[in-house]
Structure formats: C-alpha cells, structure tokens
C-alpha cells in the first residue's frame, strides 16, 4: 500500500483487515458500511500494526536512555575479598552509593588479578549502559593547536621608552571598532565593540583572539585576572533566555552564563574578587556571590542582607566589605566578610550615618570607610574616616573625624596614605576633579577646560610619568586633540587629530620582579640609567635615520621634476623676453643696474621729548 494513502486513513486499514482478512474487499466493504460494524477481531487476527505507526507522535516523547557515561559510577580499588564475602562487600558498596540515587545494576568485575572495579549505575538523572557505545566508536580527533601568539610578549620588552619623540603608530585599521575600545586589566587584550558583539585582539600584531556574539553590546568589564569578561546589551532577548548580561570565558570564547538585567543598575554590575574566583552582584537586600568556573551561586543561595547599600572586594584577598544603613533601632554597620566561608570577620556599628563610601588600599592592608554623619534633620554635619587594619589581629579600627571635607579621593599608593582635599582648595583653584597618578606621588587638581582649553579627559599613563589631556569628539566637535604632559606639568606634545574620540593607555602587566629585586635595582640605579640612556639614544638615531631616508627619497623624486622644469624654463626665455619688451625679468635683481632713479626713503626711528626747565638757563 502506498504510503500517502496510509497516512490519510490509518484506521480504515485496520477496519479492512478485520473484516475481510485482507483479501478481495472493496464491494463487501461498501455493503457492510450501512450496517452496524463488527469491531471485534477475527480469531486468527494478528495485529501487524506497530506502536510506531499508531502513536508515533507520542513515542517521540518517550524518554530515552541518555548517551554518555554520566550515570555510571566506577568504584576502583575496592578491597580484595574471597568468594564467600563478595555479597557482603556488595551490600556495603550498595549502601554507600544508594544515598545518591537508585542503583540500577551493579557488577563486580575482576579486571586483573589485583584490580577490581565495581561499576554501579545510578538511575538519576540518566539511564545508560556501556552497551550503547557503537562498536565503531572513534576517539575524537585531536584539534590542532591554535597559536594565539604570545599575549604577554610585552614582558620581553621591559624597557619603557623614554624618548619623547613622536608617537609611533603600532597598528591602525579601518572600522576596527564601531563604538569604543577597552583594554583588559593587564593589557593583554584590546576589546573592540561591534553591532554583533565583541572582538578581542592581542599579541604583537594584534591578531583576533576571540569573538563573542552579543548583539547590541554596550558595556564590557573584565575580571582582574582577564580570564572572564562580562558584557551588557540593552537588546531584549526573545523567550525566557537571558541575554542582557553575559559572562564569557576569554580563553575558550564560551558563554559561561547569562543573566537578566531586571533593574537599572550601575556598571560594572559584577564586582570581581582579586583572583577572579568569585564575582558578586548587589540587588535589593541580596548579595549574590557566584563562583567560577561554574558561574553558579556560591552554596546555591544568595546572601540575604537587609538594606545592603554597597560592597567592595579587597584588592588582595577574598574578603568583602559591605555596609547597611540604620534601620529602626539597629545601627548602621560595616561588615567584613570572608569568602567562600562567609565568616563575618569584623562588624563595626555606626550611628547617625548619612552615607558611607568604602575605599580599599591597593595592597589590601587597609579599608577606609568615609562616613558622612548627619543630624536628625538630615543635614550633613561632619565626616568620619573609619580605617580598618586588615593585617592586624581582630581588625582594629581607627576613627578620624574631619569637618568640611570637599572631596575625597583615594590615592592608589602602596604607602599608607590617603588624601583628603579640603574645601579651601576649591576656593583657591577652580578644580573640579582630582586625578592621582598611578604611583600616587602626584595629583592633578584639574580645572578641566582651563589649562588645556576645553579638555574633557585626563589619563595617567601606567608608569605615572605622563599624563594626557584630551578633547574628545564625543563632547566637542572642534579642536579634537590630545596633549601629552610629563608629571612635572611640562607640555611634551600636542597631537591634533580630527574626530579624536578616546585615548586609553595600555595597562602594563604586573612586574615580574619581587620586592627584593626592585630594591636591588633602586640601589644600582646609576648603572641602569646609563644603559637606558644609551638605548634611548640609539632609538632616537634610528628614528631620525628613517626620517632622513624618507626625506632623501622625496628630495630625489622632486629634483628630477625640478630639473625638467628648469630646462623648459630656459627654453622659453625668448618668449618671455618678447612678452616683456626685451626686459630680462628672470632674476629678481636682473635689471637693477638699469634703474637709474634714486628714491629717498625716511625711516621713523623714534621720538624723544625732552622738557627743558626754562629757569635753569636764566
């Protein structure tokens, strides 16, 4: 029977079979249709309709045994026992493993004389047996190793270039990014943003390392170790699949986990622990800590902290600090929390708190909490600095009270200095921003838009020796440029670039030297200075050599044209003389001697008025 017909009327076939025993049926069928049909099977009827034909659609949903060995537990090295005690051993093993799920089958196999393996099958979540592996199973082919070149090649080039000559173009590409760029925290990757997602570039030649598809991506952030990247896109996803925030693995390029973005929140939404093992996110009354690489919630649940306002990771250890404001009778609190143990290391109660700002010292030795004290009428009265000593027993807290604080910026210093800027600074200078140099020795009180007219950006270089002020095209449409200054405030160069948008210094990788070695170098600074100066000079001469070669080429090219022009000029001498009535005007002074007229020209040199006292001469 044709398949098409079968599909149309599966029931009819059964009906026919039933009544006519499969032979010579058509006239009969017509006649019988009028009567009450007989639904019972003939006695010798054998149902040849398979389940597939009858309820294929339902069977499709029938759970099948999973392919894989996820449900198999192999217990190795179980004790060797004699035949008589095998069943006892089995019982013990069964007892241990039945805690984790229903055991389907188990068998003990004597693999070798000594080794015995006990294979258990656990019913949940999969059913599986070894028999399902196809006989012709081949191990997966080894993927060829893709060399992404040395991402840390810059470590080989330890010599910070000292020559303040023109910047050297490393790489320029058209349409490299569609919106902006970002460096990863250690400078290994350059991230470019595109309509379809993010691309990471790295290595000496800036080859593409990975691509991450995230339509409409607007913001990105890296974990401090560069292993993970978080991206945000406001494009709404279809279905329930979250798309707003995605955590990526930068090494494999895989999406680790995606999150919804329920509420408007600050970027970066996730704060990373210094080693990149944890990342945390704040939502109302909840602190969700996730662990990597699984990207699952730590201990499967968020921390419930009523009223939690802000938190921050220590830059050196997996310690969190968070604060909660006053509520009813309970005071405001700053808490230090150890992760992953969730042990509260220190709790500090505070009163009359308006706002708290937490600042970690770069080494993680201190935590400074700036507490704005308010009166009952909510007026900011004064300001306290609570300084937690992390390295000391029981985390003692020092408290400093200050009045009239204008602006507070943490200096990123290794020394134990925090800086406080008083309001009087504001009166003296029209400073509206403070920028610390990365090494913390210098601070810019930037009256933005003053020294560098209309400056919109200030960026310190990672060594703290140079600072760049820029006028971005994003803010102003004219005079886009960036100026490079040294730390002493000397203007080194002005680089005008039409439609200049963004300038970022590439972060330098961490120093490979330990403290002792740094000390050693500082001691022998004079020796190194000489070496570096020599290198600088070599670089300088090399650069100028290239420049000179370029000029020489231009010169020779142009000279051939000039020679040709000179020849033609000579050839047209007659014509020129003819046009100017025989006067040779080829040289500027060619007919000076013919000029007979003399002209007198007066020069006004100055005026001196002397008043003469008449009486003296009398």
């Amino acid at each position: 029977m044709a398949e098409g017909e079968w599909e149309q009327a599966p029931v009819r076939k059964k009906h026919l079979d039933r009544n006519s025993e499969g032979t010579d049926d058509r006239p009969l069928e017509n006649g019988m249709d009028e009567e009450e049909p007989n639904f019972s099977d003939a006695e010798d009827f054998i149902d040849d309709v398979t389940d597939d034909e009858l309820l294929g659609d339902l069977l499709k949903q029938k759970p099948s045994e999973a392919v894989g060995i996820d449900s198999v537990v192999v217990v190795d090295n179980i004790p060797q026992v004699g035949q008589e005690r095998v069943s006892k051993l089995k019982n013990v093993i069964r007892k241990i493993f039945s805690k984790y799920g229903e055991i389907i089958t188990n068998f003990i196999q004597k693999k070798m004389e000594k080794l015995k393996a006990n294979v258990l099958k656990v019913s949940y979540p999969f059913l599986y047996s070894y028999g399902d592996i196809p006989d012709d199973w081949q191990p997966p082919e080894k993927q060829s190793f893709v060399d992404h070149c040395n991402l840390r090649w810059r470590r080989n080039d330890r010599h910070l270039k000292n020559t303040p000559s023109e910047g050297v173009l490393v790489e320029a590409r058209k349409r490299w990014t569609e919106t902006f760029v970002r460096w990863s925290p250690l400078g290994s990757f350059l991230a470019t943003m595109h309509q379809k997602g993010i691309a990471l570039w790295g290595g000496e030649k800036f080859v593409q390392i990975k691509r991450f598809a995230h339509p409409g991506v607007q913001l990105i952030d890296f974990s401090p170790c560069e292993r993970y990247m978080v991206s945000f896109s406001p494009v709404l996803g279809v279905n329930e699949e979250p798309l707003a925030i995605i955590v990526w693995d930068t090494r494999t390029g895989y999406k680790k986990r995606a999150f919804h973005c329920e509420t408007a929140c600050q970027w970066p939404i996730f704060k990373w622990s210094p080693d990149g093992k944890f990342f945390a996110r704040l939502s109302s009354d909840l602190l969700s800590i996730y662990e990597t690489p699984s990207c699952g919630l730590l201990e499967k649940k968020s921390l419930k902290i009523p009223g939690i306002k802000d938190f921050g990771w220590s830059p050196s250890e997996n310690i969190l600090a968070y604060w909660t404001p006053e509520a009813k009778d309970s005071p405001a609190r700053v808490t230090l929390l150890e992760i992953p143990s969730r042990k509260e290391l220190r709790v500090k109660n505070l009163f009359n708190v308006g706002d708290c700002k937490m600042h970690w010292q770069t080494q993680g030795d201190y935590l400074c909490v700036k507490v704005d004290r308010v009166t009952k009428s909510k007026k900011v009265q004064s300001c306290n600095f609570e300084i937690f000593r992390i390295r000391e027993k029981l985390f003692p807290v020092d408290s400093v009270e200050l009045k009239e604080v204008f602006c507070f910026q943490q200096s990123f210093i290794e020394l134990n200095v925090f800086s406080i800027l008083y309001r009087r600074n504001k009166e003296k200078k029209q400073a509206n921003s403070v920028f610390w140099s990365p090494t913390g020795q210098f601070v810019i009180l930037a009256g933005l838009r003053k020294e560098h007219f209309m400056a919109t950006d200030v960026e310190w270089d990672p060594s703290g020796r140079y600072v760049v002020t820029g006028v971005s095209w994003w803010s102003h449409k004219v005079d886009n440029a960036f100026w490079v200054w040294n730390f002493q405030g000397k203007l080194l160069q002005k680089c005008a670039r039409e439609k200049f948008c963004q300038l970022l210094w590439r972060p330098r990788p961490k120093s490979l030297l330990d403290k002792e070695q740094v000390k050693e170098i500082k001691k022998n600074m004079k020796v190194y200075t000489k070496q570096f100066e020599l290198k600088d000079r070599q670089n300088l001469t090399k650069a100028s050599k290239e420049q000179i070669e370029k000029r020489q080429k231009m010169l020779t090219d142009f000279q051939s044209l000039q020679e040709y022009l000179e020849e033609t000029f000579k050839g047209l001498k007659e014509e020129r003389l003819h046009l100017r009535g025989g006067v040779d005007t080829d040289r500027f002074d060619s007919n000076f001697e013919e000029l007979e007229d003399e002209e007198e020209v007066e020069f006004f040199l100055g005026e001196e008025i002397t008043e003469i006292d008449e009486f003296e001469y009398e």
Partner: protein, 321 residues
Amino acid sequence: MSCMKPISLLGHERSITQIKYNREGDLLFSSAKDTSPTVWYSINGERLGTFDGHGGAVWCIDVNWDSTKVLTGAADSLCKLWDTQTGKELANFENGSAVRTCGFSFSGHDVMYSTDKTMGRSCEVLFFDTRDQSQLENNSPYMKITAPDSKVTSATWSNLDKELISGHDNGALCLWDLKTGSMVEEIMEHTKGVNDIQLNKTGQLFVTACKDSTSKLFNATTLEHLKTYKTDRPVNSAAISPLYDHEAMDVTTTSSRIGKFETKFFHMIFEEEFARFKGHFGPINSVAFHPDGKSCSTGGEDGFVKINYFDSQYFEFDFEV
C-alpha cells in the same frame, strides 16, 4: 621661529582682502573691504597713496610687471584699471555682479577678472587688451569664459599668457586654453572652495589654499598634484618662497576661525611644518612673499597689513637630509 618685530601698516578701516608686491618688491599693494586700495613702501611701511573710486568692498588687486598699472575688482561690480604713479583711473569695466578675482598677464598687456554668480547671472571670466582703447571704452572684452556650474573663487594667468588656471567654490581646479577659450582639464583634488592660487617664481608650479584645511602644490602645465600640506584650519592664502628655489622652498599658509590665526611655514618638498608666527587679532586673509624672499607680508581681518622680516634662524634652518 620668531620673526623680528613686524612693521604694522595701518591705513585701512576694514579687513584686508588681498595683498601683492610688485616685481621689485619695493611697493606693496593692498585691497580691503573699505573702498580705498592702497600702495605702500614695503621697506618702511610708509603709505604712498590710495586709488579712490570704488563704491564697495574691494576683493582683489594686482599690479603689472613694470609697476605702471594697477587693477582692482570690487563688490560694486566694477573692475578698475589705475595708473600707479598718479592714481588716475584709466579704465572702468562695468559688470552685473561683484568682481572676485583679477590679474595682469605676464606681458602686462592683457587683464583678466572674474565675476560672481548671483541672481541668475552666471560666473564669467573676462579678458581685455589694455592697448586697445576701444575695448576699454566700450566695455567689450575680447574674450569671455563662462564657468559652467561653480563660481570662480581664485584665478591666475599661466604658461606665458596662453592659459588660465581657475579655482572654484566646489573645490575644482580648471585649466583653460586662452586661444580657444575652452577648458583643457578639470581636476577635483580639493573638496571645498579654493581661496587662493599663487604661482611660484618661474610660474611653473602653483600652490592652492583651500577651505578643506589643506594647501596643495600642482604642476601648472599639467595640473598634476605634487604635494599636500595639512593644517587643522581652513587655509585662506598660500604662497611659495622665491628664495629657496633649488631645494627648500617654503609654502606659507594661513588659517582662520576660532583662534589659531597663524601663518605656517612648510617645507615644500617634505610637506613638514617647520615654523609659524602669529601677529593678527583675527583671521589672516592674504599672504605674500617679498620677491627677495627675505620678508613676507600678511593682511588680516583686523585691518592691518604686517611686514615680517625673517630672522637669522629662518635662513639658517635646514632640514636634516
């Protein structure tokens, strides 16, 4: 580079539109938006006299090679020919729209000027022979070129009176054959209006000043683009130094708009800027080299003409080659 203190020539009441030296460089001619084109002694800045008769802003001025005649074109739609020595008007050419550029031919016999494109009138370049009194009296040019669609903003005679080079407000540069009055070549090297065209000493190269913030060097015979000098402002005027004609010629460009009213010096071959000076309280509209190459003058929107003598550094400076 620091120039010695410039000589300031104050005589015009409004902004300067164009300045020109005569061939010997002893006289400096200036036109301004006031109605009195002026001639000065270039050596001390003394005002020699004015050419009075225009009734509107004077856009352009030129002097012939033997300094006997002066040509001016103005917004009152008149182009006038003057006697340099007496200041008498020799001819008055009437037109339907403002005269934008004017110039004497190499021989000094012929004059050329261009008119603006306004109120249905197309832009024209007209040619007269000053030896033919009938042409001067009857206002009848011996040739007329109509610019097709864009306005002529700058023009110069070229190739010993056989050709004309015109710069247009759409950035085009055109080469015209003056025997037939037809266009030989049109190039679009610039994207915006060409403010100025000046020939080098031999008349074989010319430099343009363009609103697109560049100045470019071309071969005058072939219109071949040779060099580009980039700035960050529209360039109002550009000139080629007559002094370093063998290897290091300089192109002077001036820029206008919000600050940066500077005269910049570029090496003609290397396209590199090596010096600049300020001196005006506003845009600089015109720049000219003294024929001896030892000084240059600028005319600014502030109404001053300044004569700048180069200091020893300028002459000693040389690019490392």
